[in-house]
Amino acid sequence: MLLNILTGALMATALPQSTDTTFAVDPDLRLELRNSSGYIVVRTWDRNEIRVRADNIYRGGFVIEQTSSAVRLGVRSWDDDYDDVDYLLTVPASMALDLRSSDGDITVDGTRGEVNVRASDGDIIIRGGSGRVTAYTSDGSIIAEGVGGRIRLESSDGDITVEGASGDIEIEATDGTIELWEIEATSVRVNNVDGDITFDGVLASSGSYSLVTHDGDITMHIPEESGARVRLAMYDGDFSSNFTITFPSWPRGRRMEFTLGDGSAELVAETFDGDIMMRRR
């Protein structure tokens, strides 16, 4: 089925066109949006409707396409390329989102559905989300707040911040600062090369936490009464802690292990060139 929404006279005109259109949608479908450049902002409401406001449509027409599993939005242009459009969408809160942009920031606010976002060049902000939330940007930062589901975030060049998450977390980064705040997840895996890692949260019993970087400090804010087997290694750096227990001096390049409380969780922190700090939360 192809619903072609005409938005005024969309001929090959030099003037940019805008559209503001609202249509009914089955919230169980996935929303797909492809954009070449321009920002994408998605907000939610409790209606089974999508409102699309889009600016800077220079060529072609704005198209809504529906398949059995997805609603696709996009601009049909003369040369089969996606246009440079700014989008402000309001969608059903439970709708799954699949958004891609080559160049431009993507913001998703207040969703309760699955989120899959890819930006080649741009920042990504996700507030809310459940099920599976994935974001990838090759050049930009990622912020994920209040995500209920499993999180996988990847940035080649940019900072990644997660605040208030309870699902499993997986982060791949090469060059940037990674900060995790108010985390209540049972599985956390952070893999970085050049940049600090901060973890602030509680360790679930039998949870598994791994923080690895090559060049950067690792700071862990955890409750003193945590139960965990803690494995640490630094090649060029020191370990420090403001826990009540104190530690002997730390040999370089060696993997050392100690136990906090009942030792039920597993916590690994390793950095080649950087300090490891353990702070009472």
Binding site: R118, S120, D121, Y136, S138, D139, E154, S156, D157, E172, T174, D175, N191, V193, D194, V212, H214, D215, E224, R231, A233, Y235, D238, F239, S240, S241, N242, T244, I245, T246, F247, P248, S249, W250, P251, G253, R254, R255, M256, E257, F258, T259, E270, F272, D273, D275, M277
Partner: protein, 227 residues
């Protein structure tokens, strides 16, 4: 005071109005005493805020900060004297004593005399978990890591070739990313040469090789997605 212009005064002060609106507003302010007064006062607010020097806190918290950053020479456990900046220290005795007392009360449901008479905080039992036959394990680990080599060079050749399928921005980011990982690999290798028994270094080296392969695979996936 509620004319439609008032609402624009803040935006005007912040230079956020369009040229048209700015001109309109300026014209109005010339003829409207109320708006002119409001504008002057708002200017006062903004200037005051920018120049505001703050208020001294009720309590001086420097002693607590000094204790944490290691300005108290007695009772501080310094972890490694060779470190370039003497920054990270364990807690000073008074604080760890306070913490120990708190723990004793909460943990045992009553005072623990042993804790109180032994103010030194407990020393953690830290064990070296490097394998006893580390040398052999390390060699095996590195051998595995080096098996990634051919796959990595294949992908690098294809993805970074001139006039390839990737756009110039993606290639630039990819090159930067690979340069960072390559530097990490070199550093890990040099460290391994100095400390060939370190299981940690061998795993770290392997981790970086895996990372490089994953980065290249991710880039290859992007080619598939966009084409």
């Amino acid at each position: 005071m509620n004319d439609k212009w008032t609402a624009q005064l803040s935006a005007y002060l912040d230079g956020e109005l369009t040229a048209d609106k700015r001109t309109d507003l300026e014209r109005h302010v010339e003829s409207c005493d109320e708006c002119r007064t409001a504008l002057q006062q708002l200017r006062g607010v903004v200037t005051w805020a920018a120049d505001f020097e703050g208020r001294e806190p009720a309590n001086d918290v420097w002693p607590q900060i000094a204790a944490v950053i290691g300005d108290t020479p007695s009772g501080v456990v310094k972890l490694d004297a060779r470190r370039r900046s003497p920054k990270h220290f364990a807690l000073s005795i008074p604080q760890s004593l306070a913490a120990a007392i708190a723990l004793a009360v909460v943990g045992a449901g009553g005072w623990s005399l042993a804790r109180l008479t032994a103010p030194e905080s407990q020393m953690a039992a830290v064990i070296d978990i490097s394998a006893p036959d580390a040398g052999a394990t390390v060699m095996a680990t590195i051998a595995v890591a080096q098996k990634y080599g051919p796959a990595i060079s294949d992908l690098e050749r294809v993805l970074l070739q001139e006039n390839g399928t990737l756009d110039s921005t993606t290639v630039r980011v990819l090159r930067q990313q690979l340069a960072i990982i390559d530097r990490a690999l070199t550093e890990a290798q040099e460290a391994l040469a100095r400390d060939p028994a370190s299981h940690f270094l061998a795993d770290h080296y392997t981790g970086m090789m895996k990372k490089k392969l994953n980065v290249l695979r991710q880039a290859a996936r992007n080619v598939e997605v966009s084409s």
